[in-house]
């Protein structure tokens, strides 16, 4: 008996045995096969971009996936915009406070020639 003939006999034996399994076992085997295929399925979209290592654990219906991606991108845009505005306001607040409590009056900082004059004084 060569190797191929042996394999055919084993397969025929397994197929005959599988028909004798009860429904519960068949269902568990089917579910296990689907899980194994899902793991082997090539990554798509963002998952492929991240090398298939990063993915959502939550399974969304296919119709909702574009919506979820849009919501995530919009959240990043809104948070980024808010952060940039907050940083700009904080910088303005810091500089304006320092300038307004300074012992030099505002006019000293509005007179562009004063700075040049001070630099000239420091050279002489």
């Amino acid at each position: 008996m060569n190797e191929q003939e042996f394999a055919r006999k084993v397969a025929a034996h397994l197929s005959a045995s599988a028909r004798e399994l009860d429904d519960g076992v068949v269902e568990r085997l089917r579910a296990a096969r689907e899980r194994a295929l899902a793991v082997q399925r090539p990554a798509r979209g963002l998952s492929r971009f991240f090398g298939g290592r990063v993915g959502l654990r939550v399974r969304l219906p296919a119709a909702l996936r574009p919506l979820a991606v849009s919501v995530a991108i919009l959240a990043v845009v809104v948070v980024g915009d808010y952060w940039a505005t907050w940083a700009r306001v904080m910088t303005l607040q810091e500089v304006d406070t320092a300038l307004l409590i300074d012992d030099l009056p505002i006019d000293a900082y509005l007179d562009a020639e004063f700075k040049a004059w001070v630099q000239q004084e420091s050279r002489s």
């Binding site: 915009d81 808010y82 505005t85 607040q93 307004l100 409590i101 300074d102 505002i106 004063f114």
Partner: protein, 151 residues
């Protein structure tokens, strides 16, 4: 199906952009919404408050919030100057901030002399304030070669 998805995403971005513009910056209150203490501190700005940009109002609210950390002298100074400062054009304020940053970067021993220098500068006639050109030789500047001097 593909076109519908793209159209949906473009619509979502437009709505999101409008939402971002609407919430930015978060919490720039109207004059009536300020606390009594904030209104007292920012009283010089009351007439112009509702015409100010959101960012300006946000900034002044922050200044009012930190007001109690200042010394009494600094508090009086900031209140006396805030109206003049708010009435400047945005480009004037930006130029003043730039000059403040560069003058504050000079060495500490010269920084202490700035107030005295300002008094002296103000008391001088305008023609004496004019900055004389720097006649010292500059290192690293090459003179142009004379014309017709072929090598």
């Amino acid at each position: 199906m593909g076109a519908a998805r793209i159209a949906f995403m473009i619509l979502a971005f437009m709505v999101g952009g409008a939402a971002a513009a609407a919430v930015t910056p978060i919490g720039a209150p109207r004059w009536d919404a300020l606390s009594a203490e904030e209104r007292h501190i920012l009283a010089p700005l009351s007439a112009d408050w509702n015409r100010m940009s959101d960012e300006q109002r946000q900034k002044w609210v922050g200044i009012a919030r930190d007001h109690r950390r200042l010394t009494p002298e600094e508090q009086a100074r900031i209140q006396a100057r805030m109206k003049d400062w708010a009435n400047l054009r945005p480009e004037q304020r930006e130029a003043a901030r730039d000059q403040y940053r560069s003058l504050r970067n000079i060495p500490p021993d010269q920084r202490d002399a700035l107030r005295e220098q300002w008094q002296r500068y103000r008391s001088m006639p305008p023609e004496e304030r004019a900055v004389k050109p720097d006649t010292r030789p500059q290192r690293g500047v090459l003179r142009p070669a004379p014309r017709g001097n072929k090598e």
